[in-house]
C-alpha cells in the first residue's frame, strides 16, 4: 500500500485500512517463536483478533477506490485492488487453516485414539473440504439466493427455478466458503436480472451445467435475464466503476460491518451448525457480504468472484447475449496441487 500515490492515502477509508495492516504487522512480528501449546494458544488469539478487525477491509477498500477515481487511474486501482485481495485471501487462508487445525487438535475426537470414520472432520483438512459436492453446494446456494430475493421483492414475484444438469456427482477439494461466495454471487445476479425483466408469470429457468474433466470442473450458469448493458460491459470486471459510481458508493456505506465500531468486535465466531453453509468459523466477511439484501448493489461481486476463482488457478468468464441473457463459466482446478496465484495476469505474462 505504501506504493500507492500519496493522494490515494489521503482518502480516509484507504488510510484506515493501511493503519489496520500496520497494526497487525506490529503485533505479529512481536510474537515469539511458538514452542509450546500455550504459545500456540496465545498466537491463535492474536490471529483471531487480527482476523476480526480486518473483516471490514473489503467494503472499505471498495469505497476508497471509488472515491479516489479522480486522482488515480482506473487501471492502477484495479491492479492494486487485485493484488491486495489476492494476498489477503492467501493470508486469511493460511491463518484460518492454522486456527482450524488447532481446533481440531484440541477437539475430543483427536485424543480418542481410534479414528472415527463417521466424523465429518475426516473430510475436512482444516478449512478445506475434500469432497465438495458440486450438486449440494449449488442447490444450497440456489436456495439461499432465491430466498433472499423472494424476501426483497415480495411474495408475489415469481422467482426463476434453478435447474441442474451434467455430471452431478462430481467431487473436488475446495474451500466451501469461497465456492459458495462465487456461486452465490452468480446466482444473485442471474435471479435479479430475470426478476427485473418485465416479469412474466413463469420466468425462464436458470440452467446450471456441471462438467467434469480430469483436471478441472466447469460450472456454467445460464440465464435469460436480458444480458448486460453495453455501457456497463467495459466496467464489468473493474473495481473502478464507470457510470454507476455514485450509487455504488452510497450502497457500500450501508453494508453491515462497515461501521467499524464495536459492532464488528461483537460478532461471535459463528457455529458451523448455525450458519447454513459449512466451515465458516471465523466470522467470514464473505458471509455478511452474501447476506446483504439484494437491492444493495455494491458492484464488486464479479471482480471479487474472479479473484477467488483465480486464486486456485481457476477462472471466471462471462458471455453476454445482449437482449437475451448471460452465460457465466466458472472453471475450478481439481487437482488441488496447483500453486496459489499471487501475481496478476499482467505480471505473469511479463514473466
Amino acid at each position: 500500500m505504501q506504493t500507492l500515490p500519496y493522494s490515494a492515502l489521503t482518502n480516509q477509508h484507504i488510510s484506515h485500512v493501511y493503519e489496520l495492516y500496520y497494526t497487525a504487522f506490529e503485533r505479529l512480528r512481536k510474537v515469539p517463536e511458538v514452542r509450546t501449546m500455550n504459545d500456540n494458544d496465545k498466537f491463535c488469539d492474536v490471529l483471531k483478533m487480527c482476523l476480526k478487525e480486518h473483516l471490514s477491509v473489503i467494503p472499505r477498500l471498495a469505497m476508497g477506490i471509488l472515491e479516489i477515481q479522480d486522482s488515480v487511474s482506473g487501471d492502477e486501482c484495479d491492479r492494486f485492488m487485485t493484488t491486495l485481495l489476492r494476498s489477503r485471501i492467501s493470508r486469511r487462508v493460511i491463518a484460518e487453516q492454522h486456527l482450524a487445525l488447532t481446533e481440531t487438535f484440541h477437539s475430543p475426537w483427536h485424543f480418542d485414539g481410534k479414528k472415527s470414520h463417521m466424523s465429518p472432520d475426516d473430510e475436512f483438512v482444516g478449512e478445506i473440504f475434500l469432497k465438495c459436492n458440486a450438486k449440494e453446494i449449488i442447490e444450497q446456494c440456489a436456495k439461499t439466493a432465491s430466498e433472499l430475493t423472494a424476501k426483497a421483492y415480495g411474495p408475489d414475484v415469481a422467482i426463476p427455478k434453478i435447474v441442474l444438469q451434467g455430471h452431478l456427482d462430481t467431487t473436488f477439494p475446495y474451500i466451501p466458503s469461497h465456492l459458495e461466495y462465487i456461486i452465490g454471487e452468480l446466482f444473485r445476479n442471474s435471479i435479479q436480472a430475470v426478476v427485473e425483466q418485465e416479469g412474466s408469470a413463469k420466468p425462464p429457468p436458470i440452467e446450471v451445467l456441471v462438467c467434469e474433466a480430469a483436471q478441472h470442473v466447469i460450472i456454467r450458469v445460464s440465464d435469460q435475464g436480458g444480458g448486460i448493458d453495453r455501457d456497463i460491459l467495459p466496467y464489468l470486471w473493474s473495481f473502478a466503476k464507470g457510470p454507476r459510481r455514485k450509487k455504488r458508493l452510497q450502497n457500500l456505506g450501508q453494508v453491515p460491518q462497515l461501521a467499524a465500531t464495536m459492532q464488528e468486535l461483537q460478532l461471535p465466531p459463528s457455529d458451523p451448525d448455525v450458519v447454513g453453509a459449512t466451515g465458516e468459523k471465523f466470522g467470514s466477511p464473505l458471509a455478511t457480504l452474501s447476506s446483504r439484501p439484494p437491492d444493495l448493489r455494491i458492484g464488486i461481486g464479479l471482480p471479487m468472484s474472479r479473484i477467488y476463482a483465480e486464486y486456485w488457478a481457476g477462472s471466471l468468464e462471462l458471455h453476454s447475449l445482449e437482449g437475451y441473457g448471460c452465460d457465466a463459466f466458472l472453471q475450478i482446478s481439481r487437482l488441488g496441487n496447483r500453486n496459489e496465484v499471487l501475481s496478476t495476469r499482467a505480471t505473469m505474462d511479463a514473466v
Binding site: G74, D75, G166, H167, L209, C211, E212, A213, Q215, H216, I218, R220, G227, R230, L233, P234, Y235, L236, W237, S238, E317, H319, S320, L321, E322, G323, Y324, G325, D327, F329, R345, A346
Partner: protein
Amino acid sequence: MLGLRAVARHSGFSRPATTLITPRARHIQTATVKDADIARLAAKPLHPLTLADLCKHGRPPLSEQALLNSANFTLDILPSRLAHRIQSLRSLPYIVVANPNVSKIHGNYVHSLSTLLPYAERRIETLKEEVQFTEVMADLVQTHSNTIGILARGFLEARKYITAKEVTRFLDEHLRARIGTRLIAEQHIALHFSSKPHNDLSDSEHQNPHAQESTYIGVIDTALKPADIIRRCEATVGEICELNYGVRPTVNIIGHPETEIAHIPMHLEYILTELLKNSFRATIEAGMEKEPIEITIAPAPATEEQTRLLKNKPEQAVQHTEGVITNYDQGSVDYASGSNKPDLSASANIRPLDKNTPGVTIRIRDRGGGVSPENYAKLWEYGFTTFNEDEINDKVSGGNGNSGGTALDAISGGAGGSSSLAGLGYGLPLGRAYAEYFGGGIAVQSMWGWGTDVYLSLRGVGKIG
C-alpha cells in the same frame, strides 16, 4: 542476385519497362506499375471507410449520376489500399516472397493496381467509362478469389523461413484488409447491376427479377434473417456429414428466430458454415449425433441513441482498455483488428455505422466433447502448428487432405473443389476476421468433456436512408 531475375520472370513483370499483359486482360487496359507509384500511393493515409459511405449513393436502382459517384468514390480509395497490400507483402522475408505461391499473389496485386493506374488522374464521366470500370472491378474480384488458399499453401511451404507468429500477424492484417477491398469492389459491381442505366441498357431477360433484391443495397441485405442462413448452412454441412458419416446432427433454433438485421449474407454464410462444420464434426465424432445442436438467436435491443448517432462519424467509438474486453468485442472494430497493428489497421478497415447499431448474438451450443486444453491455445492460429510433418507433406504435394487429416477435412477438401481451406485450420481465425470486421466478434468457450459454446456477435449495419 540470381534469384531476382527468376522471381521477376515468374511473376510476369520485369522492372522497369514492359507492360503487363495477362490472358485475362480482355479489353482491360493496364499501365506499368513502377515502384514510385506504389510508394506514392502507399504513403497516402488510408481513408477510414464507413458502411454509410458504401450506402450513401442511395438505394438501388441507382440513377446514372449516383452510379458515377459510386464509381469515382471507389476509384478514390482502392489504389492506395492495393498499394498498402503490396508493400506489406514486400516487407515479408525475401525467401518467403520468392515462394511461387506467395509471389503469384504478389503478382496478382501488382496486376490489379496496374489496371487501376490508367484511371489515375481521371474521373469517370460517362456511362461507357463506368462499364469499363466495372469490368476492371470484376477482374479484380476474379483474380483474387483464390488468394487465401494459395497464400496458405505458400506459407506452409515456406514454414521453415518464417515463424508461425509472424505469419499470424501478417495474415491477420492482410486478410482483414482483403475483406475491405473486396467489399468495396463487389459493392460497386452489385450497385452497377441493379442500377437504372444498366436495366435500361440490357434487355428484359438480363434484368434481375428477384423480388428480394429490393432489400439489398449492393451486397448488403437490410432484411437479413440469420435463421434462414443457419438453415441453409445446416443443409449443406448436413449433407456432407451424411455422405461421409452416415448420420447428421439436428439443429434446434431457439430465441427469436424471426430476427432480421442488416448485414452481408456472404460473410454470415461463411462464418456459420465454418462454425457448423466444427460443431457437426465434433458432435458426430463424440457419438452424440442424437443430441441436437442448440442455436440461440438473440437480437440486441435497439436504443433511441442509434438514430441520433447515425449521422456522426465513428471517431467517437469508445476505445476500451486492454484486458477488459475479450475478443468478443462490443466496442469499436479498431480494438479487434488493432490487436496486431494499432495504428495502421485501424484506418484500413471499414468501421461499423456507429457503436450502437442494433445487432444480434448467435450462440451455438454443442455436445461434442469440447476443445482439449492443448488445442485451445492454438484455436486462433492460421493452421500452422496443428499438423505433423507427414500431414503437411501430403497437403503440400497437392493431396486433398484425405490422408492424415480427419474425415471432415477431407470432406471440405472434396466438396469445396480445389479449396482445401478447412483442412488447413483457417476457418476460425477467418470467421473471426469477418465477424470483427463490422464490430462483432467470435468467442469460444469450451467445456472439455462435455461440449463447446460459441458466441457469434454481429453488429448490424443500422438503419439506412
